[in-house]
């Protein structure tokens, strides 16, 4: 059933983040990061943001980080971003 669904979606060329919980991370320049389909915030400091998603955790390091535009499923982090790393919790394979 799931496989069929996937095939149908591929046929319709639907973006993945629309039909599933997979997060989409957009980085514009080095000062702006948007995460779509996020679950919550685990930690928030001025120099460190930890964003929880359905398949893992995204860590953002930097300084002067602000959380702008928080809506139900996307979040915008603004500030001087220095590094981003990902922690997998669920193996997709």
């Amino acid at each position: 059933m799931k496989k069929n669904n996937n095939r149908l979606d591929r046929l319709l060329e639907l973006p993945k983040e629309v039909y599933s919980n997979v997060p989409k991370v957009i980085i514009t320049g080095f000062d702006e990061l948007i995460v779509e389909n996020f679950k919550g915030i685990l930690e928030y400091e001025e120099y460190y943001v930890r964003i929880n998603t359905h398949i893992g955790i995204i860590n953002v390091n930097g300084y002067g980080l602000d959380l702008e535009n928080m809506t139900n499923d996307d979040i915008k982090v603004k500030g001087k971003i220095e590094s981003i790393d990902i922690e997998r919790t669920i193996d997709e394979g």
Partner: protein
């Protein structure tokens, strides 16, 4: 998101600070309860600044209590708070309302009539004619019937080729094209003779039809007949024709000027004073004394119409009067200098007057010394075509 923020500006929002150890939990609960919070900023200690809408503030307070955070209001922003501020200033609000009504009312009138003439051809009394036809400053815009006005003026005047009235804001732009005066064209079939229109000496005459009345070398005045509109034959007698021919004559262009030896020249000293006046329709209020402190000065008046937008003129204008102080400097020339100045000036004038430079045959310069100056005469001899048709009246 932008629309959401705009909406929250209209509804009013608060900038609050939340202080506590479980800030992440606070944010997550806000998210699950679908409370929109934006512009979150964490300062170095345990404070968090964020924006929240007025309606959702109470719920935020509840969540803060749950997560053991303190809430403080930093500032109130948005339209409702702005309105609240002006509740106390009733007179200001009334005046603001009054102003808006006044502007709205005054936009129904024409406050400025601009007359644009094609090629800057000046037309006499056109301003008055337009006023008489009903287009005045201060008339209601609805009452102006552009077609009727155009018809009225065109009936009155014959020198207008085209006319258009455009109402733009409180501006009425009248565009005019002047009709060119055409010389009377005499029909090919009608009998005519050629008459001189200038004074000079004939250098060439060539009658194609008709008989020549003058010879080469004759002096002609304006009004002399050059080619008669008839032919005489031995057997046919007198036969009238449409005279045709080429006549070239030497025409003198003379200019004279007197250059005095001692003159006074005015020069700006650089001292300037500005005076302002306010003009409301035709009523002028001077903001300063009319008399100038300078003895000799040059005044320049500039009038600026008061306008709100590019096309919205009001019947108020500011008149700026600039007085430039001048001083008189006595100058004296000797004979040679005066001569040269006179000749140069006259030659420049003549050069502007005569278009065809190749036809200039001779230049003549005469100077006469007088007691207090030099009189300079400059004469150009130019070859020109002369003659206009004149109908033969029997």
């Amino acid at each position: 998101m932008f629309i959401k923020i705009l909406l929250s500006y209209l509804l009013g929002y608060l900038r609050i600070s939340v202080e506590g150890y479980y800030i992440e939990r606070f944010i997550n609960i806000c998210k699950t309860k679908k409370i929109t919070i934006w512009n979150l900023k964490r300062s170095k200690d345990i404070q968090l600044y964020l924006n929240v809408r007025i309606g959702e503030f109470k719920e935020v307070c509840k969540i803060a209590r749950k997560t053991q955070c303190k809430v403080k209001i930093k500032s109130k922003k948005g339209f409702p708070f702005l309105l609240n501020k002006y509740k106390k200033r009733k007179i200001f609000l009334i005046l603001l309302f009054f102003m808006i009504v006044l502007i709205g009312l005054s936009s129904n009138f024409v406050w400025n009539v601009d007359i644009v003439e094609e090629n800057n051809n000046e037309m006499e009394n056109i301003v008055q004619d337009i006023e008489n036809a009903g287009l005045k400053t201060g008339t209601l815009k609805n009452k102006i019937n552009t077609k009727e006005i155009i018809n009225k003026i065109r009936l009155q005047r014959k020198d207008i080729a085209w006319m258009g009235i455009e109402l733009k804001g409180t501006n009425a732009i009248v565009k005019l094209v002047k009709a060119e005066e055409k010389p009377d064209i005499i029909d090919e079939n009608e009998y005519c003779s050629i008459v001189s229109d200038k004074t000079g000496i004939i250098t060439k005459i060539n009658a194609q039809s008709g008989t020549a009345n003058v010879k080469v070398g004759d002096t002609i005045k304006a009004g002399d007949t050059l080619i008669n509109g008839w032919m005489e034959g031995k057997f046919t007698g007198v036969r009238y024709v449409h005279a045709k021919g080429e006549i070239e004559a030497k025409i003198w262009h003379t200019k004279s000027k007197k250059i005095p030896y001692n003159t006074t020249e005015k020069r700006d000293t650089g001292q300037v004073e500005n005076k302002y006046a306010i003009k409301i329709n035709n009523f002028v209020i001077n903001l300063s004394k009319k008399l100038s402190k300078f003895e000799i000065y040059d005044t320049i008046d500039t009038e600026n119409k008061f306008k709100i937008f590019s096309d919205f003129y009001l019947p108020i204008s500011i008149i700026k009067t600039t007085n430039k102080e001048q001083e008189e400097i006595a100058k004296s020339y000797n004979l040679e200098e005066a001569k040269n100045i006179g000749i140069e000036e006259l030659q420049k004038e003549l050069d502007e007057e005569i278009e065809n430079k190749e036809k200039i045959v001779n230049k003549n310069i005469n100077t006469y010394e007088k007691e207090d100056g030099v009189e300079v005469f400059v004469t150009y001899e130019v070859l020109e075509n002369v003659g206009t048709n004149e109908k033969i009246i029997f």
